[in-house]
Symmetry: C2
């Protein structure tokens, strides 16, 4: 991914997912891509920005209309399965922060 | 940076800074490092997580006690100068989102 999302008017919600990977790659990239595609189809999804340093920290921020949309995506059966694999295999550690975006501003050349 | 911050109890604030760089490197790394060090000394600073893909998207999330701390840091004279260089030289585009973290949870192996 190489773009900054054009999100909507505030307020909306951000889910900040910060993670450190294990050395286990099995199924990781395919699942990560599948989850982005599936999330994009969910009601209330506004966008996602994702960066990972090779072998290091990853930050994925997804944007959502409201907390209900976030809860529904968290509880989605296919996503639940991926979360389980994440805990069991792919992530050494992670943190998820749910935050209400109150203000945004930017700059383009 | 290669760690997930141990932030405090919610609520606190996150500043999500998403950016795409220009090809101009002059002074960038030094200033970026200086800004992280300087931010860390400011009242209300809780932590920072930062990742950039080579030649691609960068996401830096800094965490703050409250909006006043964020405003003070934004208006800090040395930081203001860096922001000006950022707009003039280093960033093709960026977006800043100020968000109130309402909930956090995580997992460690």
């Amino acid at each position: 991914m190489n773009q900054i999302d054009r999100t909507l008017e505030t307020p909306y919600y951000a889910v900040i997912f910060t993670s450190v990977r294990t050395a286990i790659d099995e199924g990781y990239v395919e699942t990560a891509e599948k989850m982005v595609a599936l999330a994009s189809e969910q009601p209330g999804f506004l966008g996602v920005e994702s960066v990972r340093e090779k072998g290091g920290l990853g930050i994925t921020v997804s944007y959502w209309k409201d907390k209900e949309s976030i809860r529904n995506w968290k509880n989605h059966a296919v996503h639940q399965q991926a979360q389980q694999f994440g805990r069991d295999k792919w992530y050494r550690s992670y943190k998820i922060r749910v935050a209400k975006v109150e203000r945004e501003y930017g700059h383009d050349i």
